[in-house]
């Protein structure tokens, strides 16, 4: 047991002895295996090999390099360990053989032993790495004003290129100071190189390196700095040229604008139309005399009192006065220009006092409200039994007639009011061809358009509703019809108009007492209506008409107005305030204006305008064809079957 104990202790001691040195970290061993890292020859005449030592094994280690040449078993040791530094071996010229294979081995030795490295075969020809080129010179040169860099260098002094022993090719790189990108250039075997496309005022770095035919690239030479001068003078001339050019352009543009300043101003800033006051004199205003200014502002002819400029527009009304005054002033009224809203009455003043037949004022008012009233009364359909209303309505009708006629009928001479005959002109057609309904309607439409008032509807309504209401109805229907003429589709809803037309044609004048009823009148279009001036009314209640001298513009189509003493004699007035006229000769159409018999002051006034003076008064044969002019209008057309022109 003691023995065993002793053995155990001995074992422990041995172990301790073994581990103690290990614990202290000093363990000796063979040196580590070195390794040849590289061998280089700078000029293909000498070469150097470097190795990397391995672990030294804790003991001082020495390294030795041994080499063997090709086809020889002689082992030589490195001749020079120091020239090339630590862990290197330098072979000088005498020891270097080109095109000979070297087998080199490095041995690391220490007290414990040696370690051999792996052998390396080298041929000097293939391990040439020359030194960097020397004497790199960079200069700035000019080529027609543009600078470029000329880089020149020399081969490394050790490399013998002159004898052709080594052939080197060169490469250089350029970059701007501060940038990271290099610009590479391969220069071949030449020792000079030009670099173009430089930046003005730039600072460049240039480096060169070389390589033998089969070998390694040398290191880059040290950077050469060069600063390119500013060739601003060249650029300045360009800027001057550009400036001059743009100045020239600017001058031209401004001149063009100046030339066209006026039109440009109109284009960009259109003038705001300002009120122009006639007679306004700026100078007077500047002078400061208010009296002069305002007096200048007063237009002499405003409000228009003279009919010099407005004769065309004047509405002259036919005034027929009842016996007590024994005077009839029949004035031809000219057509209202526009719905007789304008009281361009030249006869205003002359009519003073004759209020009832103050045609112009009446017309003015009536026309103004004619349309409205027409609408209202028509729509209402209410009957106004008062004569005044009828007369008013008649006036409205007349006004409307005038308006429409004036507006629509091209045949009418300007300034002439169409009277019934014109309105009734289309009617004969119907009498002729009562069944030509569509054509009649069309013609009716035409006539309505031409004559403004087309009474067939009124006729129908008249027929259907004889009496007071008929007037309104007629009016309404008339207006409707006329309006409907403008809207053809409305024609259809009035089929009975045709029948009424027929009926009316048959009825002829008898049923026509209205102004609208003049559908029975077979007067042709009012091409020419002569103006008749009612001269006097004799004791027999005959209206003596005088032809008005053709001072008025009769317009086209105006039939020759004979200055004969043709007139229509008023035969009498019947109980219905119908003016019965005498007809002597019927030559041409007689346009009898619807005269409104006004029962004012118990006097019946009828205003007539006869288109043709040549046509004498209507005969009393009329009674057969008495027309009941409810509103006082005499429908001569119906009374006298006048030829249609």
């Amino acid at each position: 047991m003691m023995k065993k104990f002793g053995e155990v202790i001995l074992l422990l001691l041995l172990l301790l002895l073994f581990f103690v040195p290990h614990a202290e970290g000093t363990r000796y061993s063979l040196p580590g295996k070195p390794a040849l890292t590289r061998c280089r020859s700078p000029e293909k005449e000498t070469f150097t090999c470097w190795w990397e030592p391995g672990s030294d094994g804790g003991l001082p280690t020495t390294y030795a390099l041994y080499y063997r040449k090709e086809n020889s078993e002689m082992v030589y040791e490195c001749p020079d360990y120091h020239t090339a530094g630590k862990n290197s071996c330098f072979f000088n010229k005498n020891d270097t053989s080109i095109w000979v294979n070297y087998n080199i081995t490095v041995v690391a030795s220490n007290a414990l032993g040696s370690t051999f490295s792996d052998p390396v075969d080298i041929d000097v020809v293939y391990i040439v790495k020359p030194n960097p080129p020397e004497k790199v010179a960079v200069t700035v040169m000019e080529d027609k004003g543009w600078p470029f860099l000329r880089v020149s260098w020399e081969p490394p002094h050790k490399a013998d290129t002159r004898s052709g022993w080594i052939t080197l090719i060169y490469e250089l790189r350029v970059k701007l100071d501060g940038e990271n990108e290099w610009e590479m250039h391969l220069a071949g075997q030449q020792k000079m190189f030009n670099i173009f496309s430089l930046r003005s005022g730039g600072r460049y770095l240039v480096q060169v390196r070389c390589k033998p035919d089969h070998g390694f690239w040398s290191e880059w030479s040290s950077a050469s700095h060069i600063k390119v001068p500013d060739y601003f003078h060249r650029e300045r001339s360009v800027w001057i040229l550009i400036t001059v050019f743009f100045a020239f352009i600017f001058l031209i543009v401004s001149w063009c604008i100046h030339i066209n300043s006026h039109s440009l101003k109109h284009c960009i800033l259109p003038p705001v139309p300002g009120p122009k006051i006639r007679g306004f004199d700026k100078q007077l205003l500047k002078n400061g005399k208010s009296e002069d200014i305002f007096s200048a502002l007063v237009v002499s002819d405003f409000p228009p009192t003279s009919s010099s400029n407005y004769e065309d527009l004047l509405v002259e009304y036919l005034e027929v006065y009842i016996p007590e005054e024994q005077e009839l002033i029949l004035e031809e009224s000219k057509d209202l220009h526009d719905g007789c809203l304008k009281p361009k009455g030249s006869t205003f003043d002359s009519d003073s006092g004759r209020g009832s037949c103050d045609s112009h004022t009446l017309l003015m008012d009536k026309c103004g409200e004619a349309k409205d009233d027409e609408q209202q009364t028509d729509r209402d359909g209410s009957q106004t039994g008062s004569e005044a209303q009828r007369q008013q309505a008649a006036w409205e009708q007349e006004a409307l007639t005038y308006a429409h006629e004036d507006m629509i009928s091209p045949d009418m001479s300007s300034g002439r009011v169409k009277t019934w005959p014109s309105v009734f002109s289309p009617l004969p057609q119907y009498s002729l061809s009562p069944l030509s309904q569509p054509s009649s309607l069309e013609t009716a439409k035409q006539h309505c358009l031409s004559d403004s008032l087309f009474p067939p509807a009124s006729l129908s309504s008249y027929l259907t509703q004889p009496g007071q209401s008929t007037k309104e109805a007629l009016r309404s229907s008339y207006s409707d019809f006329c309006s409907s003429n403008k809207q053809p589709h409305l024609l259809h809803p009035q089929p009975d108009a045709r029948h009424h037309l027929q009926a009316h044609s048959d009825v002829n004048i008898s049923s026509i007492g209205h102004k609208e009823a003049p559908a029975g009148l077979q007067l042709p279009t009012v091409q020419s209506t002569e103006y008749v001036e009612v001269h006097t009314v004799n004791e027999d209640d005959m209206v003596l008409l005088h032809p008005v001298p053709s001072g008025h513009s009769h317009g086209k189509g105006c039939l020759q107005m004979h200055q004969g003493e043709d007139y229509s004699k008023v035969n009498g007035v019947d109980k219905n305030n119908v003016l019965l006229l005498q007809r002597d000769v019927i030559e041409e159409q007689v346009d009898m204006c619807p005269c409104e018999n006004q029962d004012m002051n118990g006097a019946t006034e009828s205003c007539c305008t006869s288109a043709q003076k040549s046509i004498p008064c209507i005969h009393t044969t009329l009674p057969v064809q008495e027309e009941k002019a409810v509103n006082g209008y005499v429908d001569t057309a119906t009374m006298f079957p006048l030829p249609i022109h």
């Binding site: 005449e45 053989s97 080109i98 095109w99 004898s163 022993w165």
Partner: protein, 219 residues
């Protein structure tokens, strides 16, 4: 191919030169300067060396994966009998004629081995077509380069630069004198290795000659 075109060019040049020798610029006579001739043959030799280098690298890559450096120098190249300068001083110390002869000897020595090498490459099918074409081209180039160098020598002799002691190595006797048996024992890889070195020698010697004889052009 481009290389064969260059070969043809050299042949044309040499053929033209073989015509009436023109010392002066006579009418209808195409005079080539010696420097140009040297440049052409140097370019040719550089091209040849490049091809041999490529072939050798390919061989090393595919057929010797384990870089057994020791086995490389197991045998001598068959041209080791030709004394060639192994250093710059030795080469510069050598006379022009000797140097020229060395070049010619080397070129002559490699004509048959390369031809056979090409034949073996074509039969092996291990090489790709590219390598096979290279071996053929290499073989042709050796042949053409020798002709070109001979033209240069003749020109030099004509110019009196070198003496006429340079023998005509194109004669069949010179060809037979070469050791034709040694190279047959060599393996293909060794052949390539040796030829790579020898082509480098030829290129270098030609450069030395040129810079010694006509130094004003690129030396």
């Amino acid at each position: 191919m481009r290389q064969s075109a260059r070969l043809q060019t050299i042949l044309d040049l040499t053929a033209v030169d073989a015509a009436p020798l023109c010392t002066n610029a006579q009418a209808g006579c195409h005079v080539l300067s010696l420097a140009n001739l040297f440049d052409r043959v140097i370019q040719h030799s550089a091209r040849m060396h490049g091809i041999s280098n490529d072939l050798h690298s390919e061989f090393e890559l595919y057929f010797l994966p384990s870089k057994n450096q020791i086995g490389r120098v197991s045998r001598n190249c068959h041209t080791s009998s030709i004394l060639t300068p192994n250093g710059k001083e030795n080469a510069q110390r050598m006379a022009r004629e000797e140097l020229t002869e060395v070049i010619l000897k080397l070129l002559v020595a490699w004509r048959d081995p390369l031809w056979h090498f090409h034949q073996s490459m074509a039969h092996h099918h291990d090489f790709n077509n590219f390598s096979s074409n290279k071996s053929l081209e290499m073989s042709d180039m050796v042949h053409e380069l020798r002709k070109g160098v001979q033209k240069v020598v003749e020109k030099m002799q004509m110019l009196g630069i070198i003496s006429n002691s340079v023998s005509n190595l194109a004669s069949p006797e010179a060809l037979l004198a070469s050791d034709s048996a040694e190279w047959r024992l060599m393996k293909d890889y060794d052949l390539l290795y040796c030829f790579r070195r020898d082509s480098n020698k030829v290129q270098n010697y030609l450069k030395i000659l040129k810079c010694r004889i006509v130094p004003e052009h690129g030396c």
